[in-house]
């Protein structure tokens, strides 16, 4: 199992690490496959993600996928951010080892949870329909 140079770059120099004080939406999700945790916080203005930070307890792939997904959703509208799939995240990293695909699912779910939290706080109800959770992908290896 080898990580791509891009994964190693995001792992060694993760972008947007931390927590946003007074965040508009916070999502914390756990990984049932291996027990790891990812927390995303968002600053949202006029339906656009203006800032995003993450904290991750997990492997190299989990840290790298958290890092790159923050870059991918920054500046996007909520609708567009929700369209970022774990596959797109993995592709942006030049691929992940098959056994590590489930870590990218965690990133996708963390974004979704944070947006859901924001909508609950602002509109009183969360996401209309959550994307089906892709737990099955965790065991494709």
């Amino acid at each position: 199992m080898q990580y791509s140079p891009k994964v190693m770059d995001h792992f060694a120099n993760p972008r947007n690490v931390g927590e946003i004080a007074g965040a508009d939406g916070v999502g914390e999700v756990g990984n049932p496959a291996c027990g790891d945790i990812m927390k995303m916080s968002l600053k949202i203005k006029d339906n656009v993600i203006v800032d995003v930070k993450f904290k991750t307890f997990g492997c190299g792939a989990a840290i790298a996928t958290s890092s790159i997904s923050t870059e991918m959703i920054k500046g996007k509208t909520l609708e567009d951010a929700l369209k970022v799939t774990n596959k797109a995240v993995a592709e942006a990293l030049d691929g992940l080892p098959p056994a590590k695909m489930h870590c990218s699912v965690l990133a996708e779910e963390a974004i979704e949870a944070a947006i859901d939290d924001y909508l609950k706080k602002t509109t009183g109800k969360g996401l209309e329909k959550k994307k089906a959770h892709k737990h099955d992908e965790r065991h494709e290896h």
Partner: protein
């Protein structure tokens, strides 16, 4: 780039003396040891001499050593071969929950073919209680298989006590001594061991070579069938170079053992004390004193082992981790879990395993590099601030 190897539990670097010893044999025309001509004789003589060294290391007789391709093969051979040869007597086998997969998986397949296996728990240090073994033995019990020492957490098991019980009860005692043999004194006669697995690359020999000690008189069915090499107990042309290397490594290990143990243990203790002093929320796995000299297994709280491993690797330091994320099965180490460590903490398991290749400079370097890595990962961890 810095190269510091602290993953000796996964296999040792080849001892430089071994390279010297095997080189002339690599250049010579070696015959098949089964053949009578001069080329065959050179090979079979070399095997005999080095078989003697392996036997000496553990106080066995040369004809009690069966060379194999690995410790894994030795474990498979012992369990499946002894179980098959004793089927008439019974079908019950006792092992611990912290055995290596090369013991656990053969046992699983024996279970499928009608054997019954009792997996004994261990205490928080990873020690098997000999009384549990006594209580688990029943008339159908044929084998007790308990590892000599655990390579992951370092704990040395009460082998002598277990050997006394199995001898008294007339049950065959197999021990997986892959982590122990060549690293700490092992005496098969004193401990009443009937069968014992070893691996050459755990004490400076070549990978691809192992041995099974089988006490004279213990019946076994061969695992590998074919010719009558190894007294008919393991077919296949011998791995001549590997056997020579293993024999020489055994001879060196025996003569240098006290100095090696002292040196490695001192370095390990320096590393341990340094880490405990400079990093908080760290606990040591395994038995506090009764442990392999080079083993330092730690749980570093709030962070995950693979990340630590990768950051250390960037600094040129090689270690291993028992975290779920590091394993291909995405399960935390069964050994760590059996000692009762909770799942989140087990994610932070790292193993520094030191050997004769390590120096005080290596330890200093690790002590300089590790704390900032841990701090960095903790700053990234959602668990850290909540718990501080």
């Amino acid at each position: 780039m810095t190269k510091i190897y602290m993953d000796n539990a996964s296999g040792n670097p080849i001892h430089p003396v071994i390279v010297e010893v095997i080189t002339p044999f690599l250049k010579e025309c070696l015959g098949n040891p089964s053949n009578l001509h001069q080329f065959g004789r050179v090979a079979s003589d070399a095997i005999q001499v080095h078989r003697g060294h392996v036997a000496d290391l553990i106080n066995a007789k040369p004809n009690e050593i069966i060379f194999t391709s690995s410790g894994t093969e030795a474990n498979n051979t012992a369990l499946k071969g002894i179980a098959a040869a004793h089927k008439k007597k019974g079908n019950h086998i006792i092992a611990s929950q912290i055995e290596h997969f090369s013991v656990l998986n053969p046992l699983k397949s024996l279970e499928k073919s009608g054997y019954e296996v009792t997996y004994l728990p261990v205490d928080k240090y990873g020690t098997v209680n000999p009384n549990d073994i006594r209580n688990a033995i029943k008339p159908t019990t044929i084998i007790v298989s308990i590892m000599y020492a655990n390579g992951e957490i370092g704990t040395i098991e009460p082998i002598k006590e277990i050997g006394n019980i199995t001898k008294e009860k007339g049950v065959i005692f197999h021990t997986d001594a892959v982590a122990a043999a060549g690293n700490i004194p092992v005496d098969v006669k004193e401990c009443n061991i009937d069968a014992m697995s070893m691996s050459a690359n755990q004490f400076g020999g070549l990978s691809g070579t192992g041995a099974l000690y089988l006490r004279e008189g213990v019946r076994i069915l061969p695992f590998m069938e074919g010719g009558i090499q190894e007294g008919g107990r393991r077919a296949g042309t011998e791995n001549i170079i590997g056997i020579i290397a293993m024999g020489k490594a055994a001879e060196l290990a025996k003569s240098e053992m006290p100095q090696r143990m002292k040196k490695i243990q001192e370095l390990r203790n320096q590393l341990k004390e340094g880490i405990l002093k400079n990093i908080n929320h760290v606990c040591v796995n395994g038995h506090p004193t009764n442990r392999l000299p080079g083993n330092l297994s730690l749980c570093i709280e709030y962070i995950e082992g693979e990340s630590i491993l990768l950051f250390l690797d960037m600094q040129g330091i090689a270690i291993s981790s028992g975290s779920a994320c590091t394993s291909r099965s995405l399960k935390a180490s069964h050994v760590i879990m059996a000692t009762g460590v909770d799942a989140a903490l087990a994610q932070g398991t790292v193993l520094f395993s030191l050997g004769i290749n390590n120096t005080a400079d290596d330890v200093r370097f690790v002590l300089e590099k590790l704390p900032p890595i841990v701090e960095r990962l903790r700053q990234m961890s959602p668990l850290y601030n909540q718990n501080k």
